[in-house]
Symmetry: C2
Subunit: 578 residues, 2 copies
């Protein structure tokens, strides 16, 4: 049976724990949120010893289920003050699952401010001094681990931003090639890891302790069903592998929902130059790689490697959200500059969405002008130098905006909005407003029915039906995050009933009993209820489930749209919680 490791960084002790009955069938976000909601004092300071950082593979991770390699990180967030779960691909989750790790819970805080490495293998977890890694970026940090432990280990690490306890710091996970390119980006969980003094977790995979389905045949049947559905859906079988996530740039720009220059406009005149199509051609032309899998067992392969003019590796992707954040939102239309920023974000260990949004706010503040790619790179480089300006930029849009007196700050609960203007995609606006995580597109990706025609169709410009759409997606997403599945399986799930059948059959096969769609959704509902309860105890109320006022009054071109889902409607999203 997979176990929970309690790693106490005050005492430098490790305790192995059999999961209690309550935690037994939980994984990923369901487990991180259960532990955080159950054990962390809701009013504690996120960087205090009382907070806990939970790392958990999904419940299907390591089973061979398609696209099931997500690693969930959970804690009270230093960015939002809410509970937080942020998940990433890469090899880390699978590696943990192979050595029987259900979760690692980092507790306490070292008194001495020193840095440590955790080594995780089939024998357990060891705490080792790692002060030699102080001040290193993620790329150098993991390179030293591969030198020391061989290139088959996986790393979960923080860069300079996590060490500086910055609110936009991420946790990096290495991909199959050992690059620290997949990030639990949102909510500053890298700062929580930094506050625990853990610079890197090195995982040596082993095959003996993978989770084994109780009913292997049922499991295989389900896996095959999901696989077939993924292969049959045009987005997961064609759009994403060929153009990557950035296939969305032209689509969202055409919809008038591509936030431009700090959410001042809904269309960017430079979209073509930074589109997925252009990115594809450039990568192919230069000899980069498209259709790259961020973890083994991924059949969608939306990742890619971005190379420079000489064919030298620069960074992964970059992803749609990153290209938007550092591109359109800053008025920048230069893919090479954006790739350079993505590389800096990954190396320093930063959430690319928050960082792009922060630079856009810095542009609105007049620190540098919109469109200034060199200036934007310069702002990021300040983080590496640890200057006051760098610390500010690494603290996110809300703090930088407050410091410079900016009144247009596109955040909810302190977290920057991603790449869809909520005035022109109102379903995602409902998700931004009401998610337990602050503004987060992945929490309930209503772009599906609002824009993509996936899972039905709901007019993105009208308030009608958005609450129901967002609610259903938030529930389903929470369950997908618990399973450890990549959210992109949702495209198939929403259009093809056999996909969810496959997922439930895999879970049923794993547990050795029937597992229905209702059982699946119950996991999502229970997790959201726990997260809401934590947030309520931390002081969050309906008043926090709102967009900033200016989205309700400032009209967005080209649709002349405002966000007009009423507060009363927003307050119905969680009606399902008793």
């Amino acid at each position: 049976m997979a176990v929970i490791y309690r790693v106490n960084m005050s005492e430098k002790s490790v305790r192995v724990e059999e999961p209690s009955e309550d935690y037994l069938e939980l994984g990923g976000r369901a487990l991180t949120s259960a532990i955080v909601a159950g054990e962390v004092p809701p009013t504690c300071h996120p960087l205090s010893a009382e907070n806990k950082l939970v790392l958990a593979p999904g419940i299907l991770t390591g089973t061979g289920a398609p696209c099931s390699g997500r690693l969930s990180a959970g804690a009270k967030s230093p960015l939002t003050g809410t509970i937080k779960e942020s998940n990433a691909g890469g090899q880390g989750a699978i590696a943990l699952a192979t050595v029987g790790v259900k979760a690692i819970v980092l507790e306490g805080k070292p008194a001495n401010g020193k840095l440590y490495r955790l080594r995780v293998n089939a024998d357990g977890v060891k705490i080792e001094p790692a002060d030699d890694l102080a001040g290193l970026g993620n790329y150098d940090t993991v390179a030293r681990q591969f030198d020391k432990f061989g290139d088959r280990v996986s790393c979960i690490s923080i860069g300079q931003a996590g060490e500086m306890l910055s609110s936009a710091a991420s946790i990096a996970v290495t991909d199959p090639e050992g690059r620290p390119t997949r990030h639990c980006g949102r909510g500053g969980l890298g700062a929580v890891m930094g506050s625990k003094g853990v610079k890197v977790i090195v995982v040596e995979a082993a095959d003996g302790r993978r989770p084994k389905p109780a009913d292997a045949d049922a499991f295989k049947k389900g896996a095959k069903k999901l696989n077939t559905a993924l292969k049959g859906h045009p987005i997961t079988s064609e759009g994403l592998p060929k153009f990557g996530t950035n296939v969305l740039a032209n689509v969202i720009n055409d919809a008038g929902a591509y936030p431009t220059r700090n959410f001042q406009q809904g269309q960017f005149e430079g979209t073509e130059a930074i589109s997925g199509e252009r990115q594809h051609d450039l990568i192919v032309e230069r000899g980069g790689k498209i259709a790259h899998a961020c973890h083994r067992g991924c059949t969608i392969k939306c990742s890619r490697t971005y190379v420079d003019e000489n064919g030298e590796y620069v960074t992964k992707g970059p992803e749609y959200e990153t290209i938007w954040a550092h591109g359109a939102d800053c008025g920048i239309d230069d893919l090479d500059a954006i790739a350079k920023m993505d590389r800096l974000d990954d190396d320093f260990g930063l959430d690319t969405i928050e960082l792009g949004a922060t630079i856009a706010v810095a542009m609105e503040a007049g620190i540098i002008p919109f469109g200034d790619a060199e200036g934007a790179i310069g702002l990021l480089e300040e983080i590496g130098k640890g200057t006051p300006l760098g610390r500010l930029v690494a603290s996110g849009a809300e703090v930088l905006g407050k410091t410079y007196g900016v009144s247009r700050i596109p955040t909810v609960k302190g977290q920057a909005m991603p790449a869809y203007d909520p005035r022109a995609v109102k379903g995602i606006g409902v998700t931004y407003a009401t998610s337990t995580m602050g503004a987060d597109h992945t929490a309930g990706y209503a772009v599906t029915a609002n824009v993509l025609g996936v899972g039905g169709s709901v007019d993105p410009l009208k308030p009608n039906g958005q609450v129901e759409l967002s609610r259903n997606l938030q529930i389903a997403t929470s369950a997908i995050d618990a399973a450890g599945l990549c959210l992109f399986v949702a495209f198939a799930v929403l259009d093809d009933p056999t996909a969810l059948e496959g997922i439930c059959e895999m879970l049923g096969g794993l547990y050795g009993r029937e597992f229905t769609t209702d059982d699946f959704l119950a996991v999502g509902k229970q997790t959201l209820a726990r997260e809401r309860a934590f947030n309520a105890a931390a002081g969050f109320t309906a008043a926090d489930d709102r967009l900033p006022d200016y989205f309700k009054t400032e009209r967005l071109a080209p649709h002349d749209a405002t966000f007009d889902v009423t507060d009363k409607e927003l307050d119905k999203v969680y009606d399902f919680i008793g």
Copy 2:
């Protein structure tokens, strides 16, 4: 009848308004809070056009009532997000009252980012361009006004911090000698004035329109009663004139409640060197002035002028809170260095309490060491240069702490705690937690009964009785703030029933009808109820009426005290609101 001037800075227009029935008997805080609560959208951004800055003399200001020269400034606060009233002495309020100004309401926001001067005289209010004042400190700003308009005008102005829209920016009011030393310090109201593009308000006093008591004899009788009570109380007749507010340093240090090095200890080994007694001797020795009145008609005269070794004027006071904030809280025991910081704060236009607390947090973050007076002055000088570090320091303790990952940040609702550790003066802890303004000692100064033996005696180290004490003081204070009386009349009020009789007789004389103690307290209750309602609509709940967790767990030497007034008790403070 005194009138309300509506100054719309979007349109550059001025509208004169007779006060409505509702506003007729309101002044000071009662009026600013009524207007803000009634007219400002509670969820608006504090620096947006929707916020309003209200400046109002007290209801007794200009009548000749003793110690009645307070000017209230009110708005939604950029520091706390709550409603905010901050009041100051100086000549501004009296000057406004003499020309029949009940309130000036700054509305809208100039689109062009330019600066303006308001000229106020018996003829009304004029808006004039003032871009030549951009970037000037308060001292230079007011000097240019005196050059232009003669030295009998009074000025209400902002320095560089207000122009930069910094969350700790104050509004300065000139004293009888034309020095910009009296500040509406708390809550960043200088940034709201800056967002309205108003650099300075120049008031030309005239005697024709002073408020006239309907019953002059009753008024005079009341004024005499208050005067006699003030002359008879040892604090207002001896302690404050001789030693100034800093008479408290030794007293609070002896009580073990003098927050030292960012609230790490309750006693400072350097207290003697920065005490009121030492300050008195130094000022007298160097030829400065003690027993200075910050406005004409003040009989307490707690102000003083601080001079350097050569007898040259440096700054006023400094006050107890300032000396603590830049002194003990930073581990600094050098009065000359503290006076220099006070001067910089006044010139840049900053809240000295917030600034001292912010520098202490910067010390805890390791930016400079505790006790480093030169380093602390250097941090303030960054503000004048407008550097990123300067902007951060001018944004207050919470933002700076968040940017540097500090988990011990002594704030409530984003505002830094003043000079009394809530663990050792639990009544003031109740006020910090529950005040409608964020952590604020003046909102309900329980130090009286907790430490000074004024108004009874409540053991400062026990939780018992603190809620009732704080509640009663919060109500009375709110009424005193409405009257335009200096809070220090409360020492007399608390110990001598004739003082409050005198105040009520003056108010009755002013209105020409009977005015009881209950009527007086009703003003306080009504104002608090309005403020609470605004805050609730802005999203504040009981969860915000709390001290940071660490005050409940970290023990304070020498009493080994924690803050142990329960949440349930705290939630009873506003029981009087139906």
